[in-house]
């Protein structure tokens, strides 16, 4: 081997080695970005899954409750006046406090504390007349103090929690009367203006309904369109034109579809505003081209020999398509559908335009009830000033990611099943 050849060979090996290194660096970079992203979200968001309670004692005094009956019925308990009882439960934490300063103590718990006092008695009617310990939802600020997210060293006038409240908090904490428990209400509560009460139930259900509506509209339409275009339509200028436009549609910014939904679904058809029904249809406009393209590609990938076999057996075009081609293309079509739905799942802009950005403090039971969606909820909370919402944003992202992962998993399982059957 002469030196020229040797050099050439060496160069080729070096080039390959360099190329592999570029690849490794690229993957390393991507993974480290992912790690930073995940760390950010988890470190900020994990505390949202903890809820802070303040434990105090409540005296269900019949006189203060304004209950006259000897053995009160459920209705009596329901209609009793809990204001004083609840008020006393909080102010008893510091009996020496002058009355005009009471607000400072009351502010340490959620504004719904009166309802919590009521609920406990309704669940345990035998507490009537007794003094029992009660857990009250700590206010957003105390919650943040307890989680260590609240700087204590800034001047008092710049703080939402004043020195007196911090002092009470420290006392309670020392006594072990500040509890930290898993935050179930984050999953069961709808949105709220109060960070400590805000949950994702309404936006989660909104997302579920939107995705279902989106699937119900886009999947059949897209699959039928793909089958017709691929298996039946004549190949001419017109079908070429349609194909180009479907590809273009897949690249249209989502906000444009939002405008379309606003202009047609809401303005012309008068569908109910802010509902998953409208959101889902709008999203299905976006998902449609993605599914059509995927379905066509997987129909194309079915070997022509299968079609020929069926046709030669005397199957009609329709039978060939429905008995053989379509079932064989299903795994590909399904994964395309999941990709489309995953895009729709994270879509915010079109939903904002059709009004799913409204503050919804009820949990939607049907697709025609007003709702938010998870990405819109993230957007709404990220605009809120309260410190408590910062962790909620990250927690909501985590839920969205978990939702995505679950969907992909389901898709993989379905896909696997189909492929097993047909291979």
């Amino acid at each position: 081997m002469n030196s020229f050849k040797k050099n050439l060979l060496k160069k080729r090996y070096n080039a390959e080695r360099r190329f592999q290194w570029y690849g490794k660096i690229a993957i390393g970079l991507a993974l480290s970005f992912l790690a930073v992203f995940m760390f950010q979200i988890f470190s900020k968001g994990y505390s949202a899954f903890q809820k802070t309670w303040i434990v105090t004692e409540v005296h269900y005094d019949k006189e203060l409750l304004l209950i006259d009956a000897e053995s009160p019925s459920k209705d009596d308990l329901e209609n009793a006046d809990y204001y004083d009882v609840a008020y006393k439960a909080m102010t008893s934490l510091d009996p020496g406090l002058p009355e005009e300063e009471d607000r400072q103590l009351i502010q340490m718990v959620s504004y719904k504390y009166e309802a919590e006092v009521k609920d406990l008695l309704l669940k345990n009617p035998d507490y009537l007349g007794k003094i029992v310990p009660i857990k009250l939802t700590a206010s957003d600020d105390i919650d943040q103090v307890h989680k260590g997210n609240y700087p204590r060293d800034i001047p008092e006038k710049n703080r939402r929690v004043n020195d007196y409240q911090l002092q009470i908090y420290d006392m309670l904490n020392e006594r072990g009367d500040i509890l930290s428990e898993f935050n179930i209400s984050f999953f069961t509560n709808p949105d709220s203006r109060e960070a400590e009460l805000a949950g994702i139930a309404s936006s989660f259900m909104g997302t579920v309904f939107s995705i279902l509506v989106c699937l119900a509209f886009s999947f059949p339409v897209a699959v039928l369109a793909a089958i017709y275009l691929e298996e039946f339509a004549p190949k001419n200028k017109f079908t070429d034109f349609i194909e180009v436009n479907i590809n273009n549609l897949a690249a249209v910014p989502s906000i444009v579809f939002g405008l379309l939904g606003l202009g047609i679904l809401l303005a012309v058809f008068n569908l109910p505003r802010s509902t998953p029904l409208v959101g889902g249809i709008t999203l299905s406009l976006m998902t449609l081209p993605t599914i059509i393209i995927a379905a066509r590609a997987s129909l194309k990938a079915v070997p022509p020999s299968i079609r020929e076999a069926a046709l030669a057996m005397g199957a009609s075009n329709m039978q060939t398509t429905m008995h053989h081609t379509v079932p064989l293309s299903m795994p590909g079509t399904l994964s395309g559908t999941i990709i489309g739905l995953a895009q729709a799942l994270g879509e915010t802009a079109p939903l904002i335009l059709i009004g799913m950005v409204a503050f919804v403090n009820t949990i939607p039971g049907t697709p025609v009830d007003p709702a938010a969606s998870l990405p819109v909820q993230i957007y709404i909370w990220s605009e809120s000033a309260e410190r408590g919402f910062v962790e909620k944003v990250s927690a909501c992202i985590m839920v969205l990611l978990a939702f995505l992962i679950l969907m992909n998993l389901a898709a993989q399982i379905v896909r696997h099943k189909f492929e097993k059957k047909w291979s």
């Binding site: 020999s305 057996m313 199957a315 291979s423």
Partner: protein
């Protein structure tokens, strides 16, 4: 007796002509072999006989092809009915990715041949027996057809083709993807089948044509050069071109 009579068949792919004035008489219950070098148009001709060329948009067929006095090259012809009567076996085994049973039962199902489950079972069994595959698969009819070996797959395709009791079976190089043992099995099968069915087989192997066929047609560049009894074509052809091809001087 003539089963299929083709007269002056011309086939065009777009502006390119693939077959020139092919006229041929295919006799009933005989094996007719079509031989010739690649691209000579023998497969194109075969696909005219069950209208498989319809699938190709740019393909145009002219001339007359009559099967029992029924004009095949007519717009009015019901292609589905034709293909029920004219089965086809392809070069590459192409069983459906379904069970062995479903593969054979597919034709009878779509053509409504079996009235009951028992009748269908019977059709599947007879077809597989005729295709000499029954003994190998009778215990695993619910396994996927594509899991069989190449030779078994091709016999499954033959079983599928005969399940609707066609009058004619077209075979497009059915053994080109198979080993010699599987080829021998298929050839035996062809010998058996010709008692009931008219067979037209396209093959690249001249020895195969000599072994299985009674009539042979030699195609070259889209023209039928010579057609006659296999004996005559192989021993004493009229045309020099045929002689050259048979003896391996070109092709």
């Amino acid at each position: 007796m003539s089963k299929i009579k083709a007269e002056n068949v011309n086939v065009y792919y777009g502006s390119k002509q693939a077959l020139f004035d092919v006229s041929i008489d295919i006799a009933e219950k005989e094996v007719t072999a079509l031989i010739g070098p690649s691209g000579c148009g023998k497969s194109t001709f075969l696909r005219c006989l069950n209208r498989m060329n319809d699938v190709i948009d740019i393909c145009r067929v002219e001339g007359s092809i009559k099967m029992d006095n029924l004009e095949l090259n007519s717009r009015k012809l019901d292609v589905v009915r034709l293909r029920e009567n004219v089965g086809m076996v392809f070069q590459k085994p192409n069983p459906f990715p379904k069970t062995i049973y479903e593969n054979v039962a597919y034709g009878p199902t779509i053509h409504g041949i079996a009235q009951s489950k028992e009748e269908m079972d019977q059709i599947v069994e007879t077809s597989l027996k005729k295709a000499a595959l029954w003994n190998e698969v009778k215990d695993r009819l619910d396994e996927i057809g594509t899991g069989l070996s190449g030779g078994q797959q091709q016999r499954l395709c033959i079983a599928r083709a005969i399940s609707v009791s066609p009058e004619v079976i077209l075979m497009d190089e059915p053994c080109s993807a198979l080993d010699p043992i599987a080829t021998a099995q298929i050839e035996e099968l062809i010998d058996d089948l010709k008692k009931e069915v008219t067979i037209v087989i396209v093959t690249h192997s001249m020895s195969q044509a000599a072994r299985v066929s009674q009539k042979t047609g030699f195609f070259h560049l889209g023209k039928l050069i010579e057609f006659g009894s296999t004996d005559k074509i192989f021993k004493n052809p009229d045309k020099q071109q045929t002689q050259d091809y048979i003896t391996g001087r070109f092709g």
